[in-house]
Amino acid sequence: MVLGAAAGPASPADFIAAREQMAFTLGFHIILASIGIGLPALTVLAEWRWLRTGDPSYRELARRWAKATGVLFAVGAVSGTVLSFEMGTLWPRFMDTYGQVFGAGFAMEGIAFFIEAIFIGIYLYGWDRLPPRVHLLTGIPIAVAGIASAFFVVTVNAWMNQPRGFRLDAHGRVTDVDPLAAMFNPATPVQATHLILAALMVCGFIVASVYAVPLLRGRGERYHRLGFAIPFTTAAVVAPIQVIVGDWASRFVSERQPIKFAAMEGVDHTQAGVPFRFAFLEIPNGLSLLLRFDPHATIRGLDSWPAGVRPPAEIVQTSFEIMIAIGMALLGLAVWWAYTWWRHHRHGARWSPWFLRAATLAGVAAAIAMEAGWTTTEVGRQPWIVYGVMRTVDAVNPSPGLRYGLYVVLVVYAVLGAVTIGVLRRMRRPSHQAGALKVDEKITAGGAGR
């Protein structure tokens, strides 16, 4: 049952397919996971406001968001399950050698999933079975466990960037395993913070953009205004913090993975006084100044490393620039929201349509920033699956035919994505609202003889 010596992929096409499949399924999962992290918290917030104020708009929001959580959590959970399978079907040698080193993070994530899934069941189906306060309280473990599971899983990714907590013996087997040192590796604090904030931004902006559309069309009822304001404010508060944390991430990478940093910033040759380049823009000495607070500081360039360990620099640089551009744009939007809100309260001014138009795009933009950030991290780590220790080629499943797996996954996920969006859109229609309420009644009538 034990694998033989490293054999490498069956063919280059299978190797590429395995990487693309991993990237695609992760990219799909991360959007749903972000909503799964943020939406339960928003739902509980709305339900709490309802209990406090008795305002039916809050009640309606809480009910709607709970329903959406139900659908999105299910799709998120099954797409996460695919990832767990893929860790083994695509990267068995990685798991074989290092599974025990980083496994504790996944085990703890598993416990968090359990708590999440149990309370999702209780919360979604318990509206009419539990006293209102108890029901509210059962929402809190979902939100906490969502953030905890994101933390635990990202410790694994951080470990892939900064492997710690083991030594390799003469046969290449791990010894002296210290799972906690692996979990709390140097990359964990910054990656976990950046990721959790990113998830809140993705969720907040996506949910808000759903309500920006009816507001733009002039259906500015209180329900829609609150549905916009609660998630948008959450995301807008996070946006400035995220820029600061992103700066921390950049400094961290420049110290710990200087080759990734050189790729991100497009520094080809080692030089002093490196200019800051962004798309067409160029500020002389800018990068040296930004990074080291010294306009003449030297930054190591890509060509100082052998070609065999350089990541594909254009992809890394482009995706990094996309993330920064969107991060700054969302920061601007957050400021605009603060101004809009202030004018509304001081002068009773209406929310400007231009602001709402921009807000409609914020959800998609945040999701793109999330994908771009992950592309930066993962592609920037290449050719390593475990930075400096194991190459991705040596990790892949040697079986032939992996590419057919990719084709099937692409088709199934395309359909799944389209149907999920279709279902969510139909949930917004008035005709379905009546239907949806009927379901609630049936569910309670199903079991409750009261």
Binding site: V82, A107, V177, V409, G435, I443
Partner: protein, 309 residues
């Protein structure tokens, strides 16, 4: 008992729970496809709704435990059986999302629901078949999941799931459905599949050379279950049916005789995991119990209501 033994025991507990809870949800998917009457489908949807996601996490638990505690075993199985296991993973995706969509669109468009129903039903059969085939192939020491032992184990797993589901749903129908005939129909499904699965399991285990008292236990519990079903003891039969199905799994585990000690992770790793599970269990087990009790609580209330009318 070494740390590795404890880890094996935990994995077996997880697998058993996945078969008994998650497996029954797959079986329910099969009945949902086969059942003609709306009342039966309603019972299935209402019974599964709150619990299927928690039931599903047992699989995640088993996988994570295996790759952390026995990394070479996980890697070996995943490399050798990546085709059926990928199939199972896709089945899980389609099953779970189709169920969630079907529930949310309840009372909406008929065409949508019909499509989800097929996706839900078919994937509920493919997944346990693939998982069972892999387990059977490993247990029998065979090489290919399409070999006879694989096919046999796949069918047996589907049968066990369908049987467990029918048994559990009989009680749920009595609890949830205003129509007494619904419970009677699930009872007849349970009696039928129970007989078929029993007839499939016993000769198979003899051919495969399972020599373990567990087979006797399974047969006994299976017989008791048929009697209990016949006498309409719907709660008691849940336990005996679970025992009958669980002992098939344990029999297969005995048969496989995997040498796990050599593959085990370092004690330092296992210690951290046991502590994490211990601490997690303090929250998790009461919550899980609450989930099941909460949605089974109004047991019998329909009968009361019917009697009052």
């Amino acid at each position: 008992m070494s740390y590795a033994d404890v880890a094996v025991a935990l994995i077996l507990v997880g697998l058993s729970a996945y078969l008994l809870f998650g497996g029954a949800d797959f079986g329910a998917g099969l009945w949902h496809l086969l059942a003609r009457r709306a009342a039966e489908k309603d019972v299935i949807e209402h019974a599964m709704g709150p619990v299927w996601e928690a039931n599903h996490v047992w699989l995640i638990f088993v996988m994570v435990m295996t790759w952390t505690a026995f990394p070479p075993v996980f890697a070996g199985i995943m490399t050798a059986y990546w085709v059926p296991l990928s199939l199972a993973a896709l089945g899980i995706v389609i099953r779970g999302s189709a169920f969630a969509f079907m529930k949310i669109e309840h009372g909406f468009k008929i065409e949508h629901r019909r499509r989800y129903r097929w996706a839900f039903g078919v994937s509920s059969v493919v997944t346990p078949y693939a998982l069972g085939a892999v387990a059977g192939t490993i247990a029998a020491g065979d090489r290919h999941w399409l070999s006879p032992p694989g096919a046999y184990a796949g069918l047996l797993t589907v049968g066990l799931c369908a049987y467990l589901a029918a048994v559990y749903l009989t009680w749920d129908a009595r609890r949830l459905s205003p129509n007494a005939a619904t419970a009677e129909r699930f009872r007849s499904y349970a009696l039928g599949t129970g007989a078929v699965v029993g007839a499939l399991a016993l000769p198979g285990s003899i051919v495969l050379g399972v020599r373990s008292p567990l087979i006797g236990l399974s047969a006994l519990a299976g017989l008791v279950s048929l009697v209990l079903l016949w006498r309409r003891a719907y709660l008691a039969v849940r336990l005996s049916a679970a025992l009958a199905a669980g002992s098939v799994l344990w029999g297969a585990a005995v048969l496989s005789d995997l040498d796990l000690d050599a593959a085990a992770a370092h004690d330092a790793v296992l210690r951290v995991i046991f502590v994490a599970l211990g601490v997690g269990g303090i929250f998790l087990l009461p919550a899980l119990a609450w989930l099941y009790v909460l949605f089974q609580r109004e047991a019998g209330s329909h009968e009361d209501r019917a009697r009052a009318r």
